[in-house]
């Protein structure tokens, strides 16, 4: 198995297994409602009557479970550090035994957690600033038509998107510096910032290429998989969806590999 295949498999399992566990909750609830009706295939009937009935009947349960969602998402992000570290360890150049790779990944976790905390906080601040800026503009736009108002807000949306993208790229470059060079969190952040400062277009461009490919795979998997709902078709839909998730994992592994070459070729720190 090549390092790329191992990294892809690790990233895929890192999202697919938690997703499967989480999916069991609605699957059991829905099974309880529609099991006597022969299963949940009726949820995808034209008109959506049983689907909305499910939503209506399960709304109180969903609201109760919903209170745990922010914490679950946070836990998911933190737990996701392990597959990321493992994938980077697989992709790192040089010969290492599986034990050495695992050790490298585990040793990187505290610094990766620090990087994650800083970049998540930075994302929240960036979004809040953009929202406040947009709200501040609103009173001055009263005389404009709705589409023009939207057009005025568009640069702010693009700015927010750009800031989030830069932080995403920074996080990945920093994570690679942590695993590949053994840097501590603060030093790795400075490395990432230095690279972004010196080579913003090539770094973001490389990320965008793989991210767009991943987005395209996701849309294609959704569109193709939405055609089948029950029986043998359900198996086919599952296959398409999971192949799609593997494809996205592959694009992410390719990007992580690319961060290593960016780090090697563009940083003379």
């Amino acid at each position: 198995m090549t390092p790329m295949a191992r990294a892809t498999a690790t990233l895929y399992l890192g999202v697919a297994l938690p997703a499967l566990l989480v999916a069991l909750v609605p699957a059991l609830l829905v099974g309880g409602l529609w099991g006597p009706h022969g299963g949940d295939a009726l949820l995808w009937e034209a008109g959506g009557f049983p689907l909305l009935e499910t939503a209506r009947l399960l709304a109180p349960t969903a609201l109760a479970l919903g209170r745990a969602v922010p914490w679950a998402l946070l836990a998911w992000m933190i737990l996701g550090l392990l597959p990321q570290a493992m994938a980077l360890a697989f992709l790192a150049p040089g010969e290492r035994s599986p034990l050495e790779q695992a050790t490298l990944a585990l040793r990187s976790l505290p610094a990766l957690f620090f990087v994650l905390s800083v970049t998540v906080l930075a994302r929240v601040i960036a979004l809040l600033l953009c929202i406040l800026f947009a709200k501040g503009l609103t009173p001055g736009l009263a005389g404009l038509s709705d589409p023009v108002r939207a057009l005025v807000h568009l640069p702010i949306v693009l700015l927010a998107f750009l800031l989030l993208t830069l932080l995403r790229v920074l996080q990945d470059l920093t994570g690679t510096a942590v695993v590949l060079r053994g840097e501590r969190g603060r030093d790795a952040l400075l490395t990432g910032l230095e690279i972004l400062h010196r080579h913003p277009f090539s770094s973001v461009g490389a990320w965008a290429r793989w991210a767009l490919l991943g987005f395209g795979i996701a849309v294609a998997a959704w569109w193709l998989g939405s055609r089948w709902h029950a029986g043998a078709g359900l198996g086919l839909a599952a296959l398409i969806h999971q192949v799609g998730l593997v494809g996205i994992s592959w694009t992410r592994a390719r990007w992580l590999k690319r961060t290593m070459s960016i780090l090697e070729s563009k940083s003379n720190l």
Binding site: A16, A19, D40, D146, A150, Q242, L245
Partner: protein, 506 residues
């Protein structure tokens, strides 16, 4: 001796006698009583000359202004309607209540600053500038209200649909939304003309209020409706079409069939919401509310969710003022009434129901029907249909079909609740065969005994889910081998969870 049509001249200022007249609300000044100086005998004619000033609020309760935009409804003194039983239909201007008035002929001249576009009830017969003002005159017969709008930023589009001259007035940039409203109107005019009879007026004006004046949207006046929705109109969601179709439907249920919206709001809102759902489905298929790849949601599926939300703790057929909250009012009057009507239509047969509804609209045109008129029309077509409607509308009726027991050789189905409806029971056998049994739903429960083999494996009551009013569809089936897990749900949730995982990946 004078003829009955000869006016009596009082030539008297009656204003000093005007007095507040709202029962239980001495502060109200929207419902006033005007005693006449002398009795008016049957056949007499009264002529009132009324000079009044109407001070418009900023947009509230569908009327008022925002900047230079004006949507002017309920702006002139309106005489109370004398009912058949000799009582007066009068009530204050309440938040939840709409209106009731007599049919009449309107001849209205409006003067607005030049540069303002005007839309109003009826047909425009004059438009000229005079003394620095734009003067427009509108005429309309056989209507019971008159509303108008004026704005110096209106865009205008015109179209002819089924012989009706449609004029759309809207803010700049709302062209995509207006195109969808026009499409909705084509659906509505075709569908309602066929189901309910022709739209008899030559014009229809559709007004889309600007941002900030949304409160003026989603309202009906004779030959003029206001709509709403975002300028970009998300294509997968049919809200723009739904609002337009709903408001146009009021040209029948309120406009021509002029029931008392204050006392019997379900007669216009409930019936209209049903027809809205039927026309949306006719025009846009099963995705009449939402359509994305792999998922379609019917308008009436949404109506069921909302309509069951207020339970049956208050009857549908109440006056607008008697509902405890706006939420109760909308859930019961609009949506519970609509799903009750749809349930009766599904269970007794679409042809029977459509015939009864069509008879009701055609016989009550330009009249002021009451709930007994509706029920009597349905009873003439099918008495059991009228009985189910009466129970559901007037008496907090409800229904929950459920399978209460299942064994290999017998099963028991119960009808919980008070509404009696015919339904089907589908018996599934161990050898894969199935049998449909018809049940008139009169008794509280029914037992089916099976002389097997093959033995029973599962049973479903109302397998096609015709009873939209059913409190809980999940208890409509039992199986001796139920599936424990929703595999389709597991598959999709795992996929979407995986995508989310990639999005959140550190």
């Amino acid at each position: 001796m004078r003829s009955p049509s000869e006016p009596v001249s009082l030539a008297q200022d009656v204003l000093p006698a005007l007095a507040a007249h709202s029962p239980n609300d001495p502060e109200d000044r929207t419902d006033l009583r005007l005693p006449l100086p002398k009795p008016c005998a049957p056949g007499d004619t009264l002529i009132f000359q009324v000079a009044f000033t109407s001070t418009l609020p900023t947009i509230v309760e569908r009327t008022g202004y925002l900047g230079s935009f004006h949507m002017v409804g309920q702006w002139f003194p309106k005489p109370a309607r004398l009912r058949q039983d000799g009582t007066w239909s009068h009530f204050p201007f309440l938040r939840l209540s709409e209106f009731d008035a007599d049919f009449g002929s309107y001849d209205v001249t409006l003067e607005v600053p030049p540069g303002f576009l005007v839309g109003a009830t009826g047909r425009q017969v004059e438009d000229r500038e005079e003394g620095g003002w734009r003067r427009v005159r509108y005429l309309q017969e056989e209507v019971h209200d008159f509303a108008w709008t004026a704005w110096d930023h209106f865009q205008e589009r015109q179209a002819s649909i089924e012989g009706v001259q449609v004029r759309l007035l809207y803010p700049e940039g709302h062209e995509p939304s207006v195109t969808r409203q026009l499409d909705g109107l084509r659906v509505a005019l075709r569908c309602m003309t066929r189901r309910l009879g022709s739209y008899p007026y030559p014009t229809l004006t559709v007004v889309q209020p600007p941002s900030g004046a949304e409160e003026a949207g989603g309202m009906e006046y004779p030959t003029l409706i206001t709509t709403g929705g975002p300028w970009y109109g998300p294509p997968m969601l049919r809200t723009s079409e739904a609002v337009t179709i709903h408001e146009f439907g009021h040209q029948y249920f309120y406009g021509m069939v002029a029931s008392d919206e204050h006392r019997h709001p379900f007669l216009d809102e409930g019936l209209n919401t049903l027809v809205e759902g039927l026309c949306l489905r006719e025009g846009y298929g099963h995705g009449s509310l939402l359509a994305v790849p792999g998922l379609s949601v019917d308008f009436l599926a949404g109506a069921r969710w909302i309509g069951l939300g207020a339970g049956h703790d208050h009857a549908i057929a109440h006056s607008a003022a008697s509902f405890p909250t706006a939420d109760h009012y909308s859930r019961l009057v609009y949506f519970r009434a609509a799903i009750l009507l749809a349930t009766v239509r599904n269970t007794f047969g679409e042809a029977l129901f459509d015939e009864a509804l069509s008879n009701y609209v055609r016989t009550q045109r330009f009249l002021h029907p009451e709930p007994p008129d509706l029920l009597a029309t349905f009873a003439r077509v099918e008495p059991a249909m009228a009985a189910a409607l009466e129970e559901g509308l007037l008496r907090r009726g409800w229904i929950d079909m459920t399978v209460v027991a299942l064994q290999p050789t017998w099963t028991v189905i119960a009808r919980r609740g008070t509404i009696r409806l015919p339904t089907e029971v589908c018996l599934h056998f161990a050898d894969g065969s199935q049998r449909i049994e018809h049940w008139n739903g009169e008794a509280d429960w029914i037992r089916f005994d099976i002389e097997g083999p093959p033995e029973l494996l599962s049973v479903k009551v109302d397998p096609e889910r015709k009873i939209l009013l059913d409190e809980d569809w999940s208890n409509n089936a039992r199986s001796l081998q139920p599936a424990a897990l929703g595999f389709g749900t597991l598959e999709r949730a795992a996929f979407w969870g995986g995508l989310l995982g990639h999005l959140l990946a550190p």
